[in-house]
Amino acid sequence: MSLLHVYDVVKRFGGLAAVDGAHLEVEERSITALIGPNGAGKTTLFNLISGFVRPDRGSVRLGEVRIDARPPHAVNRCGLVRTFQTPRALTRMSVLENVLLAAPDQSGERLWRLVASPRAVRRREREVEDEARELLRLVRLESHAHDYAGTLSGGERKLLEFARALMTAPRIVLLDEPMAGVNPTLALQLLDHMRTLREERGLTFLLIDHDLEAVMSVSDRVVVMNEGRVIAAGTPDEVRADPLVVDAYLGTHGRAAD
């Protein structure tokens, strides 16, 4: 069953259509890769799905819920989380705080609840902290828990964003180049974690990445975009064999992009 449906989405900036009638289905509990040459509209599509940009036309649904008219925070509360191409670490907050922030259902984020039921807030804060430390262990950042996030390297920030995204207890995670700048060993582990999380928690992943080999090896499905449209979708093998894809992307730019 598919979890995320993107139907005929169009977004123009000025006269230029960044996304021009894209269709996309992401199966529940799948790992789907979104690939395509630079300027194909992948990041814009992410922005459209996650509510940061409103489509001029078309619809986006998560399960049965239409999310294309909702603001980003409301989309997140429906169970969809995204990361950013340039990592958005909250630099003057600690690494741990970055992850704690992402916890859902923290009633202590409301002022009146802080006054009305401070105990419930503290109890939840303890739960959340255990979970956050667990996630930091997963991405090997536990030793940096109390450092400012601004002291992390680019790759470490990517990992922090990954942990932060998982902290929101999502159904689907959109990762924009999660492995860029991450050291190769850790990147492979990250892919392993994605598979484990899918098995154990039933998570769904949609990711953009330029490391085609890695992406092809981990994904169940690959979606190829070019010039604002989805030009192919299928298993990695099917996509590799698709002449349209080879023409638009793999043959000409694929190796150069790495």
């Binding site: 670490a89 909250l90 630099t91 705080e97 923290q106 202590g108 984020e109 409301r110 807030v121 932060r164």
Partner: protein, 325 residues
Amino acid sequence: MTIVSLQFWAFVGVVAGIYTILALGLQVQFGFTGLLNFGHAAFMAVGAYTMAILVVKTGWPLWAASLAAIAVAMAFGLLLGLPTLRLRADYLAITTIAFAEIVRYVAINEQGLTGGPVGTIALAGPGEAASYNREWLDFQGSVQDRLESVLGDDATRDVTMLILVWIVALVLLVLVEAAVRTPWGRVLKSIREDEDAAAALGKNVFAYKLQALTIGAALAAIAGLFFAFQFSFFSPGDFDPLVTFFAYTIVILGGTARNWAVPVGAVVFGVIFAGTRFFDFAPFSLLESGERAYVRLIVIGLVLIGLILFRPQGLLGRRDEMVLE
């Protein structure tokens, strides 16, 4: 007056206490949430004027008028925030300063409502000197009587006010500090750092900005109330945009996003501001008192520039935090 006069420094301390409350509001808005509010003085004005108008024109008791004043300032915060808080930071700065100027123009020109350019003394209409703080003076007098048994002759009006204003300032400081240490405060800080990231993690950025602006407005209104109590009458000129800039100076002087740095910043500011009165050596001795006021403002301006250039973390902030921006 001499430089060692207790009474003079008590007065400086009162002003520093009022500015502490004002700057604390800015700390919530700017220091923690990253909102560039350049109209802060307007909230102070709205607080002071609402109280004075309700007392003089409708005969409300002072405490009720004061609470209403805080509520009205918060309502102004909502009114300003609802349309503008979605704007980019630089646009927000420009709109808030325009809002503050509109408030000041209305205060100057709507004489029937505010007493006009001469100030609240004209609130009751021509030929009658209006006064809104009789109840406050009674209260302050009773406190002063009790203080006299401890402090003797030193328990003057300003010393009494010094104690009262700092009690309130410290209580508010503790409350704000407690609030920003909670998950709520964590969300504010995340918005300051990167509002897109906060939104992507499910935080309703707009709602939190609105809360920060409104709470800051309430603090500014409280500062306005104490200002009104201390000086017995006030006029639109007291809420010049300079007042907002002074509050920024205090926040940055102490250290952005550090609550305990606010009173330190306010006291240092008070000393710079008042201390320049004692520049009675050459070349300052050549200047008249009015001209020395300009020197004081030049010094404040240079302090701001110097801080940004050489010590952006302020007196109490951490250097490493600033380089992360």
